[in-house]
Symmetry: C2
Subunit: 180 residues, 2 copies
DNA sequence: ACGAACCACCACAGCAAAGTAGCGGTTTAT
DNA sequence: ATAAACCGCTACTTTGCTGTGGTGGTTCGT
């Protein structure tokens, strides 16, 4: 791929993530315009609209995978790993504020997404085994809460710096908002 | 309004809320079909698509208002009021699983929504004054967390019975998921 | 029972967005 | 420097949804 094409691809993916987050039905034309690119250019790199959405999700997925890798979920002390994980996920959500719910993708993205879910699930099980988090929650709830709270913080409080947001997220996830 | 018309209106609002939750761009035709009603019938009660969306939001808003009223936010002990509030909001979210983010309504719904926010905000301030919840959180975060966790539980764990879900939601909101 | 209100089944125009095509000009890699 | 790759532009067809009109049949209120 040529350098200018790569530049344009980046711009399209970034603009796409931003616009899709606030309106899942944005037109390809709007995304192209926001990326400072012709509509035809988008169609040159993605055969159709759905492929573009897949591309955006794949970009986010890769950012998340990088965050998981950096957190060393299997080896690091659970507290440390959790904080790193949360910080990475917040950063990824800031760059690609799209949610995974609008994924009707026919490619293998769901599998990669499920794999991530499994990795984090295993980590949360370890956290439960080591006595950090409750073990009596319904299946998948710890995972849902982790991503829910993190997405909430990332989306609704954009003024919070990444590290501070991660501190708060971990604090709230583990200890709630009770006083004292 | 005649009885059959009211029945159809209910069906349309309910189907609309359900379908809109999983795809904000559903066609009026799809909603009508899901409600077991002709497309023309929808257009008889709502002049256009946007009015239909407003109707759905208004229905949810009224369910939420009823929940707020029943919780006696200003007088009841904070713990009791919080639990009642959460239970009511979960029930409302189950009936109308649409989020308030897709509200481009030009009618006065935003005002009513803001009023609700203010009522709950005042209650949360009282909860902080009485020492139940932390007072050092960024502005609006307690509110965002309350609605975020409640929506999460209502949406992702539909098998949980309402009361049990409310127990869990309050527990997690106040004390987090730390073990012990 | 009976009139009024409501409904379902076409059918139609208008529009916005998806996707496609070709061309002349520009950027990139070697 | 040059050829290949890429881009922007304009224009076109197709598709799916919106909103409207009419007609005959059905259901509700009294």
């Amino acid at each position: 791929m040529r350098a200018d094409a790569a530049r344009n691809l980046d711009a399209v993916l970034q603009a796409g993530a931003r616009l899709l987050a606030e309106d899942p039905g944005v037109s390809v034309a709007a995304i192209a315009t926001a990326a400072g690119v012709d509509r035809r250019t988008v169609y040159r790199q993605f055969p159709n609209r759905e492929a573009l959405l897949c591309g955006v999700f794949e970009a986010k997925l890769e950012a998340l995978e990088a965050a998981l890798d950096q957190s060393r979920l299997a080896e690091a002390p659970v507290g440390v790993a959790l904080h790193k994980l949360v910080e990475g996920v917040i950063a990824a959500n800031r760059s690609y504020p799209v949610g995974p719910e609008q994924l009707t993708c026919s490619s293998g993205l769901s599998e990669r997404y499920a794999e991530q879910r499994a990795r984090v699930g295993a980590f949360l099980r370890r956290a439960a085994d080591e006595g950090l988090v409750r073990a009596d929650l319904p299946d998948g709830m710890a995972y849902a809460l982790l991503y829910g709270i993190v997405s909430l913080l990332a989306r609704e409080f954009p003024d919070l710096e990444c590290g501070r947001a991660a501190d708060l997220a971990v604090e709230i996830l583990l200890d709630g908002i009770r006083s004292g």
